[in-house]
Every structure is written in structure tokens, then in C-alpha cells.
Amino acid sequence: MTNLIDIKGVTHAYKTENGPLPVLENLNISVPEGDFCAVVGPSGCGKSTLTRLIAGLIKPDEGEVWLHGERVTSPRSTVGMAFQNPVLLEWRTILDNVLLPLEIVPNSMSKRQKQDRARDLLALVGLDGFEDKRPSELSGGMRQRASLCRSIVHKPDVLIMDEPFGALDAFTREDLWQTMHRLRAEEPFTGVLITHDLRESVYLADEVIVLSGRPATTQHVENVKLSGRTDLEVIYTQEATDILHRLRHQIEVAQGRAEVVAQ
């Protein structure tokens, strides 16, 4: 199986007034095509920086980022992004917000096809009937759903999400997790999900990568293959609990609050 995302020995530092701030150090991540990869780690360790590297928004000081067998040196239209802040454009309707990427990415779709595509996606996330509303008329969870639609409307190979559900209440968040599974069943994409919520990572991802504290490097890779996973109940099985336990421990190690124990 080929890897869709290959991050090889990436090192990156920000230039600040007090000299360089090393953020990532010799980071290696591979995500096979179609997989969903969650990245967790202590706050401020460099997760958002990682998303910007994959998207080609910044270049690594050392190492390489590969997408689909091509080296990333600049942004590319085969990537979709979603953030904690839904960043919808207030002056556009929900439908026009979702259509935004199609105005930029070269494509051969007719106006009609674009609209149909956007409407289908909105229906898929439960926003049918809200196409002509303004973002300010929607709840936080609904805005994040619209934002998700926008991030995949141009059929990207890679969906990068930086704590997309971080600002939502627990119930809305669980709703959106299930929406995510529904989207994955319909749309083929490879995902990178940055999150602070271990249960979220276990429920959604095929593998969970734990980053060490800053400068971040890959500390631990956990394969999550829970059976029958679209049911939320799966989080409460023994299997899931064991995984959560291991991840919890790894986070504590990353924060410098626990020693590594041999497994």
C-alpha cells in the first residue's frame, strides 16, 4: 500500500526576536491512502505548525513532505483545511461559503454541478434548508458542519483538520464525530486530525500519533482498529479503554510528567 502522506525527517524552527524557536524535530509520519490519522500532543508542541507544513503554507527547514508521490513545496488544490474557528465568510450565504473553493480550484464543473455538489454535501451533514442562511444565523455546531463541507467540496485527496471540534460542547461534538464517519463513507479522502480529545482520536482515527513536547517528534504510534466503529458505544468497550489508557500514559510522558514504561 502506498502512503498518501509522507513526512520524512522534518525539522522546523520559527524565527523569533529571541532567536530561533525549534518546533518540530526530525518528525516522521506516514499515512496510507484512505486512512485517518489523528495527531495528539501537549499544547504548543507544534501540531498547528505540522498542518501548515502539510498544506504547503510553510516550508520545513529540513526534511521533506510528500503528498501522493509529489514533494510539497507550495500550497496545492488537492488539500482541504478546517480549523477550530469555522472561518465562514459573513457576507456569503452558507451555500456560497461552501462553493468558495470551487471558485479557486481549477475544475470543469458547470455552475449547476457545483451547486448540486454543495447542496448534496450540506444535506449529508444535516444542513438541508439552511443553504440561503447567513453564518450568523447558525449555531456553532452548524457552522462547523458548513466549514467541513467547504473543506471537502473540491474533492481533496487530503483533509487536514486542526481541532475542528475543539470549541463545541460535548454532545454537539459527538454528533459531529458521527457526521465525520458519514462523510468518510461517502467521500474518499485521507485525513489528518489534530485533536486534544483522546476519545475523539480513538473513535475517528485509524492510527493515533503522539507527539513529544516541543520540539515535537514522533513519540508513539498507536494503531486503532476498533470493530464496528460507527457506533458511539464502541468508545466504552474494554478494547477502546485499553487504547485510551496507553495514549493517556504517552501524553503524560510527552508532558514530562511520567517515565516511559516498557510495554
Binding site: M81, N85, L89, W91, R134
Partner: protein, 254 residues
């Protein structure tokens, strides 16, 4: 019902204001040279109505042209300062200093430099006095654009121009119109300053000046009211434009 109220409320306020004015003048037995009353103005308008039309138009178009130049120049300066930190640091003190100079002192200087070029003079002052709020608003609007907004488009390979056109510009419009409302009034002041100061000038300012020279006090007050009227018209044109282009920024009031 709602529309009816929207027009009726300000109309009532204006009538109440005029009545109050008439009453004060009558109550204090003020002579014309101290304060003319609204009823004195009607003969002034009747006598000079053609001058009011000609001069009013002159004042109006020169203010509007000055304002348009201010919008173009102010937006460009604002864009330069909004996109580049260095330019912001370099230009800000210059702009603030320039803005701090009382324009009443600049008017005679300009009038002398470009003597006789009435239209140019007036437009120049109207522009100089009114571009500052616009450039500040645009630069602040652009420099406070959250990075995520930019990243959303940049990650798709959008050009800088596309990002400006699709996101930065519309997002700045509410601030821009806020500033434009201030600038309209300022440009108006600029036009009139020049019209009053310049010898053999034009526009309502000149009419005011000739009222002064001829001790025609009702005429002077009539000019002031005409100016107020033009100011209101311009202001509401800006409000209408704001509704069209930045109406989305208005939150429904509950």
C-alpha cells in the same frame, strides 16, 4: 407602518427643531444680525434660488470629487499599510502629523500656491482633509484579518490578489463605510473652508461670504441650512451604499 415611521420620526424632529429655533428668536427679540429665524430664510431662498442651485451644485460636485479621490488614495495607502508592517511603521507618524495640522492654516497656503484654480484648490482641500480616516480604517481592517481566513484560500493555491478580492476587501467594508461617514462630513468642511477663504470663489461658501460682506444675515443663515441639507443628503447616500455593500454586517436587533 415601519417605513412610515422611518421617515416620520426624523421629519418630526426637524420640524420640532425649526419651531424651537423660531420660538427662541421670537422670545428673545433677537434682531436679524444676531440670529435669523426660519421664517426669515424663506424670502432669502425665494430671492436667490438660482444662486443656491448653481452654487449648491458647485459645492456638491467638488466635495464629491474630493471624496472620490480621498477614497482611492486613502484605500491605496491603507492597503500598503495593511499588508506591510514596515510600511505601516514608516507611514503612520507621517499621516498622523499631516492630519494634525489644522486645515484652516493650509487653506490660505493652497489658495496662494494654486491661485485662481478654484476647482482644483477646493477639491485638493476636500481630499486632504478627508482621506485620513479611510486609510486608517482600511489598514486596520486588513492588518487584523485572522490568519485562518488567509490560510483557507492560500492552502488552495489562491493568489494574493484573489485573497484580497474575495476576503480581505469585503471583510474591511464595514470599517471602510464607518470611516467614509466621517470623511463625508470632513470633505464638506474642506470644500467650504476653501470657498470662503478664496477671493472671487465659487460655491455655497462664496455665497456665505457675499452675504457677510453685504450684511445680509438671513442669506448667511440660509446658506448654513443649505449646507446642512447637502451634508445630510451626502451622508444618507453613504448609508444607502453601506446597506448595499456591507448590509451583512448589521446584526438583527432582538
Amino acid at each position: 407602518m415601519k417605513h412610515w415611521k422611518k421617515v416620520a420620526t426624523p421629519t418630526f424632529a426637524i420640524i420640532a427643531f425649526l419651531a424651537f429655533w423660531e420660538f427662541i428668536v421670537w422670545f428673545n427679540h433677537w434682531p436679524n444680525y444676531k440670529m435669523a429665524s426660519p421664517s426669515d430664510l424663506i424670502p432669502a431662498y425665494a430671492k436667490y434660488w438660482n444662486l443656491f442651485l448653481i452654487y449648491g451644485w458647485q459645492t456638491l460636485w467638488r466635495t464629491v470629487v474630493g471624496l472620490i479621490v480621498a477614497v482611492i488614495f486613502g484605500t491605496l495607502i491603507g492597503m500598503v499599510m495593511g499588508f506591510s508592517r514596515t510600511m505601516r511603521d514608516a507611514l503612520y507618524p507621517l499621516l498622523v502629523g499631516f492630519n494634525a495640522i489644522p486645515k484652516a492654516t493650509v487653506v490660505p497656503v493652497i489658495a496662494l500656491i494654486f491661485i485662481g484654480q478654484h476647482d482644483f484648490n477646493t477639491i485638493l482641500i476636500a481630499f486632504m482633509i478627508s482621506f485620513f480616516p479611510i486609510s486608517v480604517a482600511v489598514s486596520i481592517g486588513l492588518s487584523t484579518l485572522e490568519p485562518e481566513y488567509r490560510d483557507i484560500l492560500r492552502s488552495l493555491g489562491a493568489s494574493k490578489w484573489t485573497i484580497f478580492w474575495k476576503i480581505a476587501l469585503p471583510k474591511t467594508l464595514p470599517e471602510f463605510f464607518g470611516a467614509l461617514k466621517v470623511s463625508v462630513t470632513l470633505a464638506f468642511i474642506g470644500t467650504n473652508l476653501m470657498e470662503i477663504v478664496e477671493p472671487h470663489g465659487r460655491g455655497l461658501g462664496h455665497l456665505f461670504d457675499s452675504g457677510k460682506i453685504n450684511a445680509d444675515y438671513p442669506l448667511m443663515f440660509a446658506v448654513l441650512i443649505a449646507l446642512a441639507f447637502l451634508g445630510i443628503v451626502l451622508y444618507y447616500i453613504v448609508v444607502a451604499l453601506e446597506k448595499i455593500f456591507a448590509g451583512w454586517a448589521e446584526r438583527p436587533q432582538g
